[in-house]
């Protein structure tokens, strides 16, 4: 963060060396080096990348493909590992909200895609994060048909429960947790969704099915296993904490134990 000052934040200009990952789908990739002059310190990191791309296009070269959309830190689309850190050196912000005043003149900046088996590179800095969608599709919802909802105030929910659910629900699904994890694990993402829904009264009927199904899909998609190191929390732009992983573990193990001892029911005896 820039220190308090009494003049306008002095905009200065940076000259940078950029090492940017270049890769086509299904082929090996490599770093490409580019010099970029005259980057304003008030530009965002993605605006710096825009400048580089504009320069490449003017020179008749292909620009670097990268994912980005809202550029206000909420859509979760931007995804770059900057000098080894997903979303760059400033904790608590997404790449689009990272500004160039956090870099030094003359610095060499290494930009690479999220790296994880479950996030294959589609092009340059773009990766395929559809594994996250698959996890949600397998159970990250409350089954409610449009039109069948009861009156909203029919079920009071304690404010602290609702607030805790909201803390978890703030996850933007960017994947920095997976990219920062030494094991390529998606436990912070899955934990956030499970915690959000399993805390709320509306989420109770499907609580066990949800957690069992989501964990199974998470494993099937090829994410790694959590080793409780906390890199995900340290890189999460939305400050999601390891609490959600603890919650996920608790709910999952509880659901497994319950399933183990649950009644098999009359109808199932014949073997269906």
């Amino acid at each position: 963060m820039v220190k308090d000052n009494h003049s306008h934040s002095a905009d200065s200009v940076l000259n940078l060396r950029l090492r940017v990952w270049r890769q086509r789908r299904g082929q090996p990739g490599a770093f490409e080096e580019h010099a970029l002059q005259g980057v304003s310190t008030s530009a965002s990191f993605l605006e710096m990348m825009d400048m580089l791309n504009e320069k490449l296009v003017r020179d008749g070269k292909e620009p670097f493909a990268f994912d980005h959309d809202c550029r206000e830190g909420i859509c979760g689309m931007c995804s770059m590992t900057i000098n080894g850190m997903p979303h760059g050196p400033l904790p608590g912000v997404t790449t689009c909200q990272l500004h160039m005043r956090n870099f030094r003149d003359g610095e060499t900046i290494t930009v690479e895609p999220w790296r994880a088996r479950a996030f294959p590179v589609l092009r340059d800095l773009m990766v395929d994060r559809s594994g996250f969608d698959k996890v949600i599709q397998s159970g990250g919802f409350i089954s409610i048909r449009a039109g069948s909802a009861p009156e909203a105030n029919a079920t009071p929910i304690a404010k602290d429960v609702s607030d805790a659910a909201m803390d978890a629900a703030e996850c933007i699904g960017c994947g920095a947790c997976v990219a920062s994890c030494k094991n390529g694990s998606a436990m912070l993402f899955v934990g956030a969704k499970v915690t959000h829904l399993n805390l709320l009264p509306q989420g109770q009927p499907e609580r066990d099915r949800r957690v069992l199904a989501m964990v199974r899909t998470m494993d099937d998609v090829g994410f790694g296993n959590c080793t409780n190191q906390g890199e995900c929390q340290a890189h999460c732009p939305k400050g999601i904490t390891l609490d959600v992983i603890s919650h996920l573990n608790r709910d999952y193990l509880g659901a497994r134990v319950k399933a183990f001892f649950s009644s098999t029911g009359k109808a199932r005896r014949g073997g269906d």
């Binding site: 304003s40 909420i74 979760g76 689009c96």
Partner: protein, 642 residues
């Protein structure tokens, strides 16, 4: 052309119920035989796709993002209105209806707005049931906050991320249907054209943004929920990918584009910092509760440290011009006043392109009165965000703000069923024109998107499908599909083969400057006329000199950008033309020729209608149609804030 709005008969409050009772139905066993295409996965698109999927239709949903969860509805901060009257402060469906119609400066269709107000309560029920963690009171019941343009507290919110939470709710419902197999999701697909068969919308052409494959899809009907066109200004609060292509391409296939000149400009955004800026960031309007807006009285003081400008040399222009509303003047008024101050050369902040475009929003008086900790408690996250972007500490020096485009009220013309003039083409959310008139009230966009998606389209789409029956879906091998596909491929190839040197972004920037200067907060006949000819010139130059590197057979971001910019270059002209013909000032549309003492002067005698534009070919001028706005219950009156 006869624009039949299909407004049901009967009293306003009974229209929707009466209408629903008459809508035709599709037998549950037959629903899976109907294929419905939904383009866009924001609040309206995700809600429509999931609801139709729940009913058993075969739905395909397309979005350009890598996941439906990233649609730009996610960025809405403030909240969502609903006439629940949980605060016991006199709210009702009728009150929400009246506020919305008045907020729209009497340029919205009465029956649609009333239905929106009626459906608002069911939306809250639906979202809570989905697990949207709305703010709550200690008693466990839902909390409300107040918002602009209303005297009741009816806004539901989830911290500053209401749009995100509502979208994630809709996305979870959509995901459930994808998991169940009723909806097939196609992310990273961009719609490039609409296919008509026998005058009905029966398919689309898309480009797969990963493989580059351009292909056709056939369906029994098409639902567009593709958002607004705010990015015609280049700089806006919209996401980078937001574009007009889906609606504009449909317009070129015969759909009418209604009121394109209605755009909303939000007064409190972080100013432009330089030529390389790509995006403007909104700061919550609530800041104006405790901040005072000013600029120096003389140009000479504009470059100074604000602390060095004596109190007597400051112009608190909102307080001066609008003594009764002061710093809380409505969005359009506050935006225009800031623009005027900067046009006089009294803007503050760093010079960008030789001009200082910013005004101060000063919290020093509030900090003195309330103490820094109170201000921090109220606005801490906003001050942090401001510091992150500008590098300035707003506790120590005034914030700098400037207006920016953030919503477009215009869109494809639709009838009461949200069906365009092309049968089988439905349009929901910001992409249609229907509910906000010339100006949208805060916390109403989310309400409209979800009302359309959950509670209107599922009924009206079924009515259309029941009408056309099961023989309605043609094969994609038909000549109509092949023709449109060939045209799309030609256009893509023309862009790829262009031997230019200029980037698509550079054209987008130039277009944005023309639109912002001439079709932004204040519009004039001369300016708009000049803008139309400038845009034409720019368009010609674009097709000669744009450079699009890449083969297109892969991820080709410049091809995506160039295609979108090409459409904006045509659409911008239509927007200026609409603004030129509407010789009145209303809501977000301010023509400097039509004002009384600096305030908007509406002309109900000549312009109490929807202007719906019909494409007439590459060289011909578009044709303007009118749908008269008939008010059965609302009383037309003039807004005043002095």
């Amino acid at each position: 052309m006869n624009l039949d709005s299909k407004i049901p008969t009967g009293p306003l409050s009974a229209k929707w119920d009466n209408h629903k009772a008459k809508l035709r139905l599709v037998n549950p066993a037959n629903r899976r035989k109907y294929h419905i295409i939904v383009v866009g996965s924001g609040l309206a698109g995700a809600a429509a796709a999931s609801s139709l999927g729940e009913q058993g239709y075969d739905v395909s949903c397309f979005c350009y993002q890598d996941s439906p969860r990233r649609a730009h509805s996610i960025a809405a901060q403030g909240g969502i209105n609903a006439a629940k009257n949980y605060q016991n402060d006199g709210d009702s469906v009728r009150r929400l209806f009246q506020d919305t119609i008045k907020g729209g400066d009497y340029r919205a269709r009465e029956a649609n707005v009333y239905r929106l107000a009626q459906l608002s309560t069911a939306i809250i029920d639906q979202c809570v049931a989905q697990g949207v963690p709305f703010a709550r009171e200690y008693g466990g019941l839902l909390a409300n906050r107040s918002f602009g343009g209303a005297q009741v507290s009816r806004t539901f919110y989830a911290r500053g991320q209401t749009g995100q939470q509502l979208l994630l709710g809709a996305y979870s419902s959509l995901s459930r249907q994808i998991g169940a197999g009723t909806v097939k999701m196609y992310p990273r697909h961009e719609m490039l054209d609409l296919v008509l068969v026998g005058g009905h919308a029966k398919g689309i052409v898309t480009r797969n943004l990963v493989t580059g494959e351009v292909r056709t899809w056939s369906a029994d009907c098409v639902v567009l929920c593709t958002g607004g066109y705010g990015n015609v200004f280049y700089l806006s609060t919209n996401a980078q990918g937001c574009n007009v292509s889906a609606t504009y391409r449909s317009y070129r296939r015969g759909a009418l584009f209604a009121n394109p000149c209605y755009t909303q400009i939000h007064p409190t955004c972080i100013p432009v910092h330089g030529d390389d800026q790509s995006k403007l960031t909104l700061m919550s309007e609530s800041l104006r509760n405790d901040g005072r807006v000013w600029v120096p009285k003389t140009m000479a003081d504009c470059g100074k440290d604000p602390a060095q400008v004596a109190e007597a040399d400051r112009d608190y222009f909102l307080e001066r011009k609008y003594p009764s509303y002061g710093n809380l003047a409505p969005r359009d008024i506050a935006s225009r006043a800031a623009k005027e101050a900067c046009d006089e050369g009294r803007g503050v902040g760093p010079e960008v392109g030789g001009r200082r475009l910013g005004v101060y929003l000063d919290f020093s008086a509030s900090i003195q009165r309330l103490g820094e900790s109170v201000v921090r408690e109220r606005y801490g996250n906003l001050f942090d965000m401001y510091e992150n972007i500008t590098g300035e500490n707003a506790y120590r020096r005034p914030m700098r703000i400037y207006p920016a485009v953030h919503y477009t009220m215009g869109g494809l013309w639709v009838d009461y069923n949200l069906q365009s003039n092309i049968p089988g083409l439905f349009v929901g959310g910001e992409a249609n024109f229907s509910d906000h008139g010339a100006n949208r009230l805060g916390a109403s966009a989310l309400m409209q998107g979800l009302a359309d998606g959950y509670f209107v389209l599922p009924y009206t789409v079924a009515d259309y499908l029941a009408g056309v029956g099961l023989s309605g879906r043609p094969s994609v091998d038909g000549v109509e599909y092949r023709d449109v596909l060939a045209q799309v491929n030609d256009r893509v190839n023309r862009l790829l083969k262009n031997q230019g040197k200029q980037t698509a972004r550079s054209y987008h920037k130039q277009l944005g400057k023309i639109i912002w200067d001439e079709c932004g907060m204040a519009r004039t006949r001369e300016g708009l006329t000049k803008a139309i000819s400038d845009i034409r010139g720019l368009r010609e130059d674009f097709w000669k000199n744009v450079a699009v590197p890449g083969t297109g057979a892969d991820v080709t971001p410049e091809l995506e950008r160039a295609g979108r910019v090409a459409d904006f270059l045509e659409f911008g002209e239509l927007m200026c033309r609409d603004a030129l013909v509407r010789e009145e000032s209303c809501g977000g549309h301010f023509r400097t020729e039509y004002q009384v003492d600096g305030e908007a002067k509406r002309d109900d005698a000549r312009f109490a209608h929807v202007a719906a534009w019909q494409w007439a070919g590459e060289t011909a001028e578009p044709i303007r149609h009118e749908e008269a706005l008939v008010y059965e219950e609302a009383q037309l009156s003039t807004r005043s804030y002095k």
